[in-house]
């Protein structure tokens, strides 16, 4: 139980997907202008991360290991692509309100490096099945935290008086640098 708490805390703060591991930068810089959008996108990412981990972990442990580990990359990306499709079909058929809210983000998620990254990190770090699932959950929540915080920062940037040469992407990256700097303060926790 203590271990699970530590895993989630690490995913949220010290090993934050976006701000410490640089995974999922594209949606972080591109989508997170509004808090609502940021939250919906993150829920979709978290959902896919947990389901993808639940499927890829047994595949790796029982099918690929120890003889076919070199197939990890190709199998994982195809499994993730298939899962995203299945989740989309399932939500569309059975839970239309959730599909309406999240469905539009799902196609984007296949090529989101955070999802492939977390399934691979679980294997690299040799976590067991339950810990892997919570690691995926923690990483998803961490993604959400970063997206929501940054949506707030972006809101402020819209009205700020920024030097001409920094307008647009440069100031966004420098703001991300400051948010990331503040997360360094958590580095001691749980270590």
């Amino acid at each position: 139980m203590k271990m699970i708490f530590a895993i989630i805390l690490a995913g949220l703060l010290t090993n934050n997907m976006v701000l410490a591991k640089f995974l999922g930068i594209c949606p972080f810089l591109g989508v997170s202008k509004k808090v609502n959008t940021a939250v919906s996108m993150s829920i979709a990412v978290t959902l896919v991360m947990v389901v993808a981990t639940a499927v890829t972990w047994p595949i790796y442990t029982y099918l690929l290991y120890p003889n076919f580990t070199y197939l990890e990359t190709i199998v994982f990306i195809l499994v993730i692509a298939a899962i995203v499709q299945l989740i989309e079909i399932f939500l569309k058929r059975f839970i239309p309100p959730i599909y309406k809210a999240l469905g539009i983000y799902l196609p984007l998620i296949t090529t989101n490096c955070a999802v492939l990254g977390i399934t691979m990190l679980n294997i690299t770090n040799q976590m067991n099945f339950v810990h892997s699932l919570f690691n995926a959950l923690g990483a998803g929540l961490g993604f959400m935290l970063a997206m929501v915080l940054f949506a707030g920062v972006r809101g402020k940037l819209e009205t700020a008086d920024i030097p001409e040469f920094l307008k647009g992407l440069p100031i966004t990256l420098i703001a991300a640098s400051l948010v990331s700097l503040s997360f360094l303060g958590f580095a001691g926790i749980g270590g």
Binding site: L19, A20, K21, F22, L23, G24, I25, C26, L29, G30, T37, Y70, L71, E72, T73, I74, I77, L78, A81, I104, Y105, P107, L108, T110, T111, N112, C113, L116, G117, M120, L121, T124, F165, L166, K167, G168, L169, P170, I171, T172, L173, I174, A176, S177, L178, S180, L181, F183, L184
Partner: protein, 229 residues
């Protein structure tokens, strides 16, 4: 496109359409692995190898792959080449493999490769596609190496592992940490924007939306959001 300007395919990727600074693709590895110049070169060349091979194969198969399943087909081809490169690096350059960690297999989801497959290789002949892959790959490598050089010089006081300024100036470790990555990238984009402006071009957008393979999905989303307001 004439045959005579095959050189322009090469230079296109290096300067005019630099994948990182002008198209804003592949930001994750750009930020993650550039803590040292040598890592930048390793990542850049690994991605270049995958890019060239996948561009050639996708260009060869461009009339065979049905339009509806082209993205999964591209991803499978790319993943195959990534596995090859991954195994080669693991066997012959174990130090680089260790430094790049999971970012090496993550070349699969590097938007540069999928974007070039979608935008260029699936519409052009083999030779231009190969040259485009080399040009884009070298542009990626050059940018990553430059970022690695800057971060290594300020963060560790060395260049390619050789101590340079560490003896006189205390290295600023923050440049090696995540915030330093975002900061150096931001400054590089600002410089690249300033140069582009002098040449009368527009500064880059927030994301490389126009070049992103998932653009259709985003547009759909933006459309729905606009309709909701």
């Amino acid at each position: 496109m004439k045959k005579s300007n095959s050189l322009s395919y090469l230079t296109n990727g290096l300067l005019k359409e630099n994948p990182v600074l002008r198209l804003v693709l592949g930001t994750c590895p750009t930020l993650a692995v550039t803590t040292a110049a040598i890592n930048g070169i390793g990542m850049g060349l690994a991605a270049t190898a995958v890019l060239v091979c996948s561009n050639v194969v996708i260009s060869l198969l461009r009339n065979v792959i049905p339009d509806k399943v082209r993205i999964p087909a591209f991803i499978t081809i790319i993943a195959g080449f990534v596995s090859v490169v991954q195994l080669l690096v693991k066997a012959f350059l174990p130090a680089i493999d260790k430094a790049l960690g999971i970012y090496l297999p993550l070349i699969v989801v590097n938007c540069i490769i999928l974007a070039r497959a979608e935008m260029f290789a699936s519409k052009n002949k083999v030779l231009p596609s190969a040259l485009d892959g080399i040009g884009m790959g070298l542009g990626f490598t050059a940018t990553l190496t430059l970022m690695g050089l800057i971060r290594e010089l300020f963060g560790a006081g060395s260049i390619f592992g050789l101590t340079v300024t560490a003896k006189f100036i205390d290295p600023m470790i923050v440049f090696l940490l995540p915030p330093g990555g975002f900061f150096v990238f931001g400054v590089l984009v600002a410089v690249s924007n300033a140069i582009a402006k002098k040449q009368g071009k527009k500064p880059v957008e927030h994301t490389g939306c126009a070049n992103c393979p998932s653009r259709a999905a985003c547009d759909r989303y933006n459309g729905e959001e606009a309709a909701a307001e």
